[in-house]
Symmetry: C2
Subunit: 346 residues, 2 copies
């Protein structure tokens, strides 16, 4: 896999990738010699290009067009040629100013992050809020809406608020509900949702619980409340910006892309995968494994606070994306968001 390229080949591959990123058009031997000062004739460049094509880094759409980088070409470029410059303090500050998190609750922050990512990159911004079940329990409140309908409000350590309506067959008074929430708040604080679930299930199994009406109700109520939250935690911003990209210029391509970006499920999938690893991750084209995003690359990074609630954010753009610009953007934004979330709980 890690084939060795001569320095000349590397230079030429780099030139091709960069020219292609800039122009979105196949680049020819002539164009390269014109734009870069290799002291080589087009013919020599052609020879190198031919080699690169044999090795699978380049391909040509047809005989008499220039070459375009394959996914493998992009991969190589990103892995070994691309130098991600770090942001200067000034740039960092500027970026930081783009975000206005003042007094925002979680959802607003997520949305705002998406907007800015998309606005700065000119591609589509993607944010996945921390999974609720990865958060730490802080407080639970019950509010009786009507006979048999109870609104459960659940707050995590990070200030993430989740609410849900549950139906119960036996009616409960406000007083009973208060008792129950007091009990749960005392019992569960500081546990992660996974732990809470485990604990609840265990206790419910214990027989002696059955004799304590209040506890029993408390447990079954919170069980219901924490069950199967299917959350829609993905925020997509600036999808229509992608339509400006020449790779999505035909109606078919547009449709396909828009459908894909509308499918939250697909995006959740992708971002979930991103969460498995640390740092900035790059999925190139068919790496993303979904056929409808085959012309797209995804750059993601995770954010988290000390309590371990993990979310992901990123930018999705054409494979021919400006990686050198987007990578530091995603990287620093993730750090920024982590910091903001940590500040929230201090």
């Amino acid at each position: 896999m890690a084939e060795h390229l001569t320095e000349r080949s590397q230079n030429i591959l780099e030139a091709i990738v960069e020219d292609y990123i800039a122009s979105a058009e196949p680049v020819g031997s002539r164009a390269i010699t014109r734009r870069h000062n290799f002291n080589l004739s087009p013919a020599s460049v052609r020879n190198v290009m031919s080699d690169l094509e044999d090795m699978g880094f380049l391909c040509s759409p047809h005989t008499s067009a220039g070459r375009i980088p394959t996914e493998k070409g992009f991969q190589y470029y990103i892995d070994t040629l691309l130098q991600v410059r770090n942001l200067s303090p000034k740039e960092k500050q500027k970026l930081q100013k783009s975000y206005r998190f003042q007094g925002m609750k979680m959802e607003d922050i997520m949305q705002e992050v998406g907007r800015v990512l998309s606005g700065l990159s000119k591609y589509t911004g993607l944010v996945m809020a921390p999974k609720f079940s990865s958060t730490v329990f802080r407080q639970i409140e019950f509010i009786r809406l009507s006979q048999g309908r109870i609104l459960v409000i659940y707050v995590s350590e990070t200030g993430l608020v989740q609410n849900k309506i549950i139906e119960v067959d036996h009616s409960l008074t406000a007083h009973q509900l208060e008792q129950i929430s007091n009990y749960l708040n005392a019992e569960l604080t500081g546990l992660s949702i996974q732990e809470v679930r485990a604990k609840l299930n265990n206790e419910l199994k214990e027989e002696r619980v059955l004799y304590d009406q209040m506890r029993k109700q408390a447990l079954s109520l919170s069980c219901a409340a924490l069950q199967d939250e299917v959350e829609d935690r993905v925020y997509v911003s600036g999808a229509s910006l992608m339509l400006e990209q020449p790779e999505f210029s035909t109606p078919q391509q547009m449709k396909r892309l828009m459908q894909a970006l509308e499918s939250k499920k697909l995006l959740i999938d992708l971002l979930d995968r991103s969460q498995a690893a640390d740092g900035v991750q790059i999925f190139i084209g068919s790496d993303s494994s979904h056929i409808d995003l085959e012309d797209c690359s995804l750059i993601t990074s995770n954010f988290s606070n000390k309590k371990g609630a993990i979310g992901s954010l990123g930018v999705i753009g054409p494979v021919r994306m400006d990686y050198s610009q987007v990578i530091p953007l995603v990287d620093f934004t993730a750090q920024l968001v982590s910091r903001v979330l940590e500040r929230e709980i201090e």
Copy 2:
């Protein structure tokens, strides 16, 4: 404006509109005589069509194409020709089954409604959740996140939950917060947010309040909590379905439409206007006043519960939309949602 058309003209106009809705292509005199049994020759139809064109109901893309209805033509069709059939009980039941509101909280319901509207109409579903300030106060809770950062959770009579983080300069203990929320809950229950705001402002002005620390804090805290909520209350579903419509088949049209549908502000505008009136409303093409939606029509209706929290829902599609199908869909869905919301508070 209300020009008089002979019965024959009406019939032909109706035929043209319906054929155009079905085919998206200009309809010619020949096609009409073929498809409908007017006992008329194409030539006679042509004469009528020519008249209709003069009156502004039809236009032709070019000399040798058929005619297509103008917006005025559609308007007339909807106002006087279209018979919106009521849904049969069976259809109503079927529709009702499409929605699964069981145990859903407000946001989920809104989203689900959008999804179903879009799925059934094959156009784009639009839902605007009730404006928060139009809801009725039920309960407020404060949770101390960190030094100076307080999470406010506010619940309306309908079970709508709103949360917000506010920053305060003086720190408050959990006990103090509890006192404050008890006080507010006792004072404010049953008032609409507008009323709550008015009351708070009035009381803050009264001098004697200044001597009661707790009350003062309570008031200023809740003032901060209820201020300037800029909510993003619009749910758009199935935007990409619009790309299947022939009127949006070119890349330019697609881009324009997608941008418009991404602009929540624009949609909020439209739906806000819908709230001003009762019943099903239809905005045809440039009626919508926004240039980027000039090829679209919007069918909306409002939903509400007895407490007066009002939201809107609707379907946005091409002007050449299947009105006879979508109007009852929107109408009945609005009723359905109203009923569900009322059930929530009972």
